[in-house]
């Protein structure tokens, strides 16, 4: 088991290394010269050479990669001698726009995205599993059809449309909610809640729609299995047949999907964060792209990749706990 975990972590590290090389190539080698981004239109060749040297862009490709990766673990120096700037580990560089440490920028924004992701996940799991179950048990009834129509609209309505419509109705027309301004929970729980409730709902709506369809299909499939018939033939209560025998086989496969979706959300919800003015990783990503702030773009890309790789490993480990067929094979 331990060997397996180590194997997976090593594989994950290799994947992340390759992604690092790839993104570095895209953003620092193939993109327009970052030096022009930094010094603007009034640039002299000397100044550009200076910036190249400071960023290490004059060095050979693999050395640049090495400096970048070692910067993540032990920090790095920008420039040499007296003018050198030490960037402590984990070093992701400095924003071209604000000169802030990129790592610090992400650390500041991450709690917002995490709050968004966790809240939305709770909502969409409740709605998705509940809706899927009702749809499956009441298959073909108006309940089922109603749920499926809502689910279909959740999948087909664009995220930004739902977000804007919701904001327009609840904030502008009905004035049930103030215009969302995120504050930390400790400062003002009510305002915190008012700021997050709409984005949670918007994100959850889309995911819940997908999960409802998945859960419904899985439960219907499971209810047709032989072991459900066996359970009924034992005279078990229908609730036990459903809760014990049908739910676990039906929900376990959804875990993989959930892990990926959740990790992706932690990496930032671009549209939702932007529409609701939430200063999360998604907003940071959107801003850095419009401003062509290469160190930031690169950092959020790596963050997203790392989250997916970690989620993958966690999901697989959880899966082996939940599904005995997988677990026993490992022993």
């Amino acid at each position: 088991m331990l060997f397996y975990i180590l194997k997976r972590v090593a594989a994950g590290a290799i994947v992340l290394f390759l992604i690092t090389v790839f993104t570095y190539t895209v953003f620092f080698v193939l993109s327009p010269d970052p030096a022009y981004m930094i010094c603007g239109k009034t640039c002299t060749p000397d100044r550009i050479a200076d910036i190249h040297e400071k960023l290490g862009l004059d060095k050979p490709f693999w050395e640049q990669i090495w400096i970048f990766i070692s910067g993540l673990f032990v920090g790095r120096e920008y420039g040499e001698g007296v003018n050198a700037v030490h960037c402590t580990a984990p070093c992701l560089g400095y924003s071209f726009q604000t000169s802030q440490s990129v790592f610090e920028m992400i650390v500041q924004r991450l709690p917002v995205s995490a709050t968004l992701a966790v809240g939305a996940a709770v909502l969409w799991l409740l709605a998705g599993i509940g809706g899927g179950l009702i749809g499956a048990v009441k298959k073909g009834t108006w309940w089922d059809r109603g749920i499926m129509v809502v689910a279909l609209s959740g999948i087909s309505l664009p995220n930004y449309f739902v977000a804007l419509a919701l904001q327009y109705i609840l904030v502008v027309k009905l004035k049930w909610l103030p215009f969302p301004t995120a504050v930390p929970f400790a400062d003002d729980p009510l305002q915190w809640f008012q700021a997050y409730i709409m984005p949670w709902f918007v994100l959850a709506f889309m995911y819940a729609a997908m999960y409802t369809r998945l859960v419904r299909a899985n439960v219907i499939d499971t209810l047709g299995q032989g072991f459900i018939r066996t359970a009924r033939a034992k005279g078990l209560d229908p609730n036990i047949v459903m809760g014990k025998h049908a739910l676990r086989p039906a929900l376990t496969p959804a875990l993989t999907l959930f892990g990926m979706d959740f990790a992706a959300l932690l990496g930032g919800a671009l549209i939702t964060e932007t529409v609701f003015g939430l200063n999360g990783v998604g907003k940071l990503t959107a801003d850095s792209i419009t401003q062509n702030d290469q160190p930031v773009i690169m950092a959020v890309t790596l963050l997203a990749a790392a989250l997916v790789v970690v989620a993958n490993i966690v999901v697989d480990l959880l899966y082996s706990v939940l599904d005995p067929r997988v677990r026993v094979k490992a022993q």
């Binding site: 299995q225 032989g226 072991f227 018939r229 066996t230 359970a231 009924r232 033939a233 034992k234 005279g235 078990l236 209560d237 036990i240 014990k244 025998h245 676990r248 086989p249 376990t252 939940l322 599904d323 005995p324 067929r325 026993v328």
Partner: protein
């Protein structure tokens, strides 16, 4: 004949407990004019028509038929587990109590406890997510209650009875860790752990290899002698039915073609369909030339 539909609103006739107390002079199972109907786009279709038979304790009735003969629907009607839309009418008397009159709740008390069932494919009939011990003892706990430890002991004992080696260890294993034959033993252990009065076995050996089939049939016969359980044995295999059944009922397209003792059916079949079926069975003993086909395709 009055059409009775089993539903939650079915009138309750007699209390729950009476099902286990035999009405004087009653048989274990007495099925009278059982008809099972399913709605289709072309109107209702009877998949079982006017079927009547009885089973006495310690005896085995074999129902033989090809696919679509209605043999499985007969068993599901007795269990009250017909697929959605299916309606049973007639009388299914269990110790004199008509099971078709019972509510869902009452039927749950009968299923697993008084009447147990063994299915064809032991792998898909077992839940891959729970240990066999949990699944064997589940019915016991549902009907008799008791602690987890007591239930586990019941499971171990049941596994020992069906001759699974090292039951104390294996009780905590999962279905996929057993071979096909062992899984079917587990299904049998599950069916027998409450000592039901009637066991319905629906093609219990069809998915098994021939050597394993022989072992499972021997085991079932042995346990039946020990417990005096009545058995309804459903199969498409005439040779298997001749080995296990005291009485045989031949079905085709929902209708009873012939019904008699096994000896009567096999030595002196009255229906031309039975004869044709018997002629079609390939035999390992000798080759009499071409086997005869039954033309009803």
């Amino acid at each position: 004949m009055s059409r009775q539909k089993r539903s939650k609103n079915a009138p309750r006739t007699g209390s729950l407990k009476t099902v286990s107390i035999p009405i004087k002079g009653s048989t274990l199972l007495d099925v009278e004019n059982l008809t099972v109907t399913f709605p289709t786009v072309r109107g209702p279709v009877d998949v079982v028509k006017d079927s009547s038979f009885r089973i006495d304790p310690g005896k085995t009735l074999g129902i033989v038929g090809e696919s679509g003969s209605g043999k499985s629907m007969t068993s599901l009607a007795i269990m009250g587990l017909l697929p959605e839309g299916g309606e049973a009418s007639g009388r299914i008397r269990f110790f004199g109590h008509d099971l078709l009159d019972r509510s869902d709740r009452e039927m749950r008390r009968v299923r697993g406890d008084k009447i147990a069932m063994i299915f064809q494919d032991p792998l898909s009939s077992l839940n891959p997510y729970y240990t066999v011990g949990v699944q064997i003892a589940e019915a016991y706990r549902a009907h008799r209650g008791g602690s987890k430890a007591a239930a586990k002991k019941v499971a171990v004992d049941a596994m020992r009875r069906v001759k699974i080696a090292d039951p104390e260890q294996r009780v905590d294993h999962y279905p996929h860790q057993f071979s096909g034959g062992m899984r079917q033993r587990i299904m049998i252990a599950m069916a027998l752990c409450l000592e039901p009065d009637l066991v319905i076995a629906d093609e219990p050996t069809t998915a098994l290899d021939v050597t394993v089939q022989a072992q499972i049939l021997d085991l079932m016969k042995e346990l039946q002698e020990e417990t005096g359980t009545g058995m309804l044995f459903i199969t498409h295999d005439l040779a298997v039915v001749s080995e296990v059944a005291d009485e045989v009922l031949v079905m085709k397209g929902g209708e009873t073609m012939e019904h008699g003792t096994a000896e009567e059916i096999f030595s002196n079949p009255q229906s031309s369909y039975t004869t044709a079926l018997l002629d079609a069975v390939p035999r390992i003993t000798d080759v009499v030339g071409d086997i005869k086909g039954v033309s009803h395709e």
